[in-house]
Amino acid sequence: MSMINWFKFSAPSTFYPLAGRLIPVFWALFAILALAGLWVGFFVAPTDFQQGEGYRIIFIHVGASWMSMFTYLVMAFWAGMGLAFNTRLSGMMASALAPTGALFAFISLWTGALWGKPMWGAWWVWDARLTSELILLFLYIGFIALTHAIDDTRRADKAGAILALVGVVNVPIIYFSVKWWNTLHQGASVSLTKAPAMASIMLWGMLLCALAMWMYSLAVALMRVRVIILERERHTDWVKELLAKRSQ
């Protein structure tokens, strides 16, 4: 039974209205979680005794880093589904997720730099995590550049899928090698991977903010996939009917 349902919703014509109904739900959840997270982050969580108020940056930094990595995994999952089952929707999902993942990687780097300046005295430190995040951003940019360079959307989807899968195999290797490189070159001079023990209320704030980013990503990816569906299915009857209804 569930198989039938999944394949039913993997048709763009049924997924399009479903996504349309889900988007407001995710936006509402985002608003609630973001407000709660910001409230906890700024008004409930106490001042950190080591880092003062500057530590409040981690409420978005950690969530954004998680999101950027997780989005890449989800993208690779859809890419693999697209190659395995040849479903049209999978490639559209992958290309809808990539820009959002890249933006979160950017946010992670940006907030990392703004946190690093007062805490370590430098905008950029070649820390294993920051470096891996930078490489992750490169991988996103490569995916976006490749899929945009190919005009035929079916070929673009499949080529992007192979790149995403190769990337996902390489991410652990890259992380491990960067970590190895980092420990050899910097030793104990900068130990930033160890966060000071955090009060549990801080963890709650971080978790709420991260969940808010999840909801944001879902809403935005669905919005983008709906546009992609319209563009790619423009010759089908259901899109024509839909647009005819709208213009009346």
Partner: protein
Amino acid sequence: MYWNSFSDFLAMGGYGFYVWGSFGVTALVMVLEPLLITRRRRATESRLTRQIRAEARQEHA
């Protein structure tokens, strides 16, 4: 509550620039991205509607 006044809140104990720089850019990105998608959507919809009308006119003629 750890803030005595609004300016205290803005100052963030001396880290104001870094904290608000982070939250500000994140907020900007999270506002701009949906706006850009909405704009792309409007553009696509009107382009496709025009195309469909043109096709319909051709069929009539």
